[in-house]
């Protein structure tokens, strides 16, 4: 580790807080640029999707249990399970699957 963990923490916190606080304090009128609005609108879904797959396959002891958890998560979220329920279901799925692998 050649980088200082406190500088890492300071940098990430400063960026996160700026992202949340600056729009609220600086932007008093609506953003009009449609492309920029659209980009901001799609970013969260794309970012989270990229971070979830294929990483979920390597988060567990076996890629099979990760894949089944992914399927269970998509399925339950599609049919309206809450954030907490989806999260717990994914964990339980991995735990049970790995009993048999």
């Amino acid at each position: 580790m050649t980088h200082d963990i406190y500088i890492y923490l300071f940098v990430m916190s400063a960026v996160t807080l700026a992202i949340r606080i600056l729009p609220l304090t600086l932007i008093r009128s609506e953003i009009k640029n449609v492309t920029l609005r659209s980009f901001l609108y799609y970013v969260p879904y794309v970012t989270l999707a990229v971070m979830t797959f294929p990483a979920i396959l390597y988060a567990t002891q076996s890629e099979i249990s990760g894949a089944i958890a992914l399927a269970a998560g998509i399925f339950s979220a599609w049919f309206g399970a809450s954030l907490f329920q989806v999260s717990v279901l994914c964990c339980v799925t991995v735990f049970i699957t790995e009993l048999f692998i």
């Binding site: 949340r20 969260p44 999707a49 567990t60 998560g73 907490f84 999260s87």
Partner: protein
């Protein structure tokens, strides 16, 4: 404090309690990741207190584990949290002109997907005390959960750690799948993101996860924004 503000605080606390409990469980698994990145429980607590962001903190921890440059930390935190620009902008429109300025700073301190979700859904002007009520459970839930994950993560059996390891991804899926079901374009964007992320990981295995996230996000979200710009007001419908 006026009667109205006190009531908003109580309602925020009530609506925020399930959020805080959910945060506690999920952030525990974030703590397990933080432990691998070499954080102490106190460092994990403060990281979560000031960031309160699952995707953003997870992305930042991958930067720490890779011992990557500070510039990459800035960019990845920016990209992973970029959605808060939109949420914070939407909230800025809900402030009454008579609400004192400093409330914008404190409300902005903890704009999360869930707190945004419950506060934007309330009719009329935003009462900052409602957000403060929700923050009273969300912030401790998330910060203490992270610290405990760092403390207790390594005394759990391997099978339990493996199972808890997917909790964060479950949370991500719960955020992206319902809008993907409602809006076909988001659904396609998510499917393309899965596919390209998988391909990129296999074709360029040496590129770090953080860099992959940044490049793919800008490429895919940029392309979709140009090809399928969001029509007026459709995002408010999705957020509510």
């Amino acid at each position: 404090m006026t009667e109205e503000n006190r009531r908003a605080l109580a309602e925020g606390f009530r609506d925020g309690t399930p959020i805080g409990l959910g945060y506690f469980v999920v952030s525990f698994t974030l703590g397990i990741v933080a432990k691998h990145a070499g954080l102490t429980p106190a460092q994990g607590f403060w990281m979560s207190f000031f960031n309160n962001a699952s995707a953003g903190e997870y992305a930042a921890l991958t930067v720490m584990m890779a011992d990557a440059p500070y510039l990459e930390m800035i960019i990845i935190t920016l990209v992973a949290n970029l959605r808060y620009v939109l949420m914070s902008t939407v909230l800025s429109q809900k402030f009454s002109p008579t609400t004192p300025f400093y409330h914008r700073i404190f409300v902005g301190f903890d704009v999360t997907d869930e707190i945004f979700g419950i506060s934007v859904a309330r009719p009329g002007y935003l009462n900052p005390f409602y957000n403060y009520g929700a923050m009273l459970t969300a912030l401790p839930g998330w910060s203490i959960g992270t610290a405990l994950g760092i403390v207790a993560g390594n005394i759990l059996p391997e099978s339990a750690v493996s199972a808890l390891g997917v909790a964060l991804y479950g949370m991500f899926l719960a955020i992206i799948i319902p809008p993907a079901k409602k809006d076909k374009i988001i659904g396609v964007a998510v499917a393309i993101s899965f596919a390209l992320s998988f391909l990129a990981k296999n074709i360029f295995p040496d590129v770090s996860g953080g860099t992959r996230t940044i490049i793919l996000t800008i490429l895919i979200a940029g392309a979709v924004a140009i090809l399928k710009p969001v029509k007026e007001n459709s995002e408010e419908k999705n957020d509510a």
